[in-house]
């Protein structure tokens, strides 16, 4: 009768798992636990197959361990996989900056569209206008009036020019962001080489995005409120449109971040 104890000190599988644990970094305990559990399941399956084929318990375990290869090699291969080289980290950082930059540009574009809606509802002065105390030079007035000959005053011409800049420059930036993101996604889908290029982990990129959008949102909200308090609302639309879009984006990235940080299998 086979007196082999599969959990005993002389069990080849137990010795192998000990070597595997010793060879792996404990800085990533979950990776370590998962690899050991996976290797143990594999070895027990292989040993059971060997025993079913007529080997003794000890011989079946030895055969299973031999087929899996040296524990030190498996541990070394896993260590290589888990350590991200600096150049790969730099590439992840740049790609994440490109993607977040594209999303940010699209958000600016959305605020341009919202500014156009505000202009339609509340009039152009609410979007952008020179303050009553602001001195406008003769040269600037001439340029604004030449751009808008129908304007009756320099201030009206300046307002029209500024509003157009707020709306169209933002829309142009949004379009640029959308094109950049589309090109990036298409290139990543089509190029096998680029397909393996990863971004920073979602929790990091979502933290960056949520923080930046939150700061931008609060900052522009403050400027909008200031414009309402100081200039009777003139020029507040350009800031409030940006604040609304930025705070919505911050909310979306915040929800994503919460999902990132709450694992599906606690």
């Amino acid at each position: 009768m086979d007196s082999h104890d599969p959990a005993g000190p002389d069990s080849p599988i137990e010795v192998y798992l000990d070597e595997l644990v010793a060879g792996l970094s404990t800085r990533q305990p979950r990776e370590l636990r998962h690899l050991v559990a996976e290797a143990e399941a594999h070895l027990r399956d292989a040993a059971a197959e060997g025993m079913a084929a007529g080997l003794s318990g000890h011989a079946a375990e030895l055969a299973a361990v031999e087929r899996l290869g040296a524990a030190s090699e498996l541990a070394a291969a896993e260590r290589r996989r888990l350590v991200t080289p600096l150049w790969a980290l730099a590439r992840q950082f740049v790609l994440t900056a490109v993607v977040l930059g594209g999303v940010g540009a699209m958000a600016v574009g959305a605020s341009g569209a919202l500014s156009a809606v505000i202009k339609g509802i509340a009039g152009p002065r609410v979007v952008a206008a020179p303050s009553s105390s602001q001195l406008l030079s003769a040269g600037d007035c001439a340029r604004w009036l030449s751009l808008d000959p129908s304007a009756r005053t320099c201030r009206a011409a300046a307002t029209a020019d500024w509003v157009n800049e707020v709306i169209w420059y933002r829309l142009a930036l949004g379009l640029l962001g959308a094109v950049a993101l589309t090109v990036f996604v298409m290139a990543r889908r089509r190029s096998r080489r680029m397909h393996g290029w990863s971004l920073l982990p979602p929790a990091i990129s979502d933290t960056i995005a949520a923080t930046l959008f939150c700061i931008g949102g609060v900052w522009t909200l403050g400027l909008g409120i200031d414009a309402i308090a100081v200039s009777s609302g003139d020029g507040s639309g350009q800031w409030l449109s940006a604040a609304v879009v930025a705070l919505i984006a911050a909310g979306i990235f915040g929800v994503r971040l919460i999902r990132d940080l709450r694992p599906a299998h606690p």
């Binding site: 690899l35 996976e38 291969a77 896993e78 096998r192 397909h195 990863s198 299998h265």
Partner: protein
């Protein structure tokens, strides 16, 4: 076949096995051996880092499930993995075709005499 020869195509064969359905590491290795009539008999320890790397790349996803009384990490092909497999298969067929063309008997001599 020597394991080193398979090594360069390990991603392709692993994705190929998992394209037939989810499986844990031991089942994948067994399927590889059986489906190739024992020709693809790898060092089993090389399969796990490869599976983990493919998961890092987003080509595989894994989940822990109890199978036959043991807790096992079960891998399955993702949508991106299926796309990558098609691309790898295309490359593989092109390589096989190119090598066969060179090895085919009666191929015109290009060696200067």
């Amino acid at each position: 076949m020597k394991p080193e020869r398979v090594k360069g195509h390990l991603d392709l064969v692993l994705l190929g096995v998992l394209s037939r359905g989810p499986g844990h590491g031991y089942a994948v290795i067994t399927a590889l051996r059986e489906q190739s009539d024992g020709l693809l008999d790898l060092t089993e320890g090389s399969v796990y880092p490869a599976l983990h790397r493919l998961e890092d790349m987003g080509w595989l996803a894994s989940d822990w499930e109890p199978v036959a009384g043991r807790r096992r990490r079960v891998y399955q092909l993702t949508k991106a993995g299926a796309t990558a497999l098609r691309s790898e298969q295309k490359d593989w067929r092109a390589l096989v075709s190119a090598v066969e063309s060179v090895l085919r008997p009666g191929t015109a001599s290009v060696v200067a005499t």
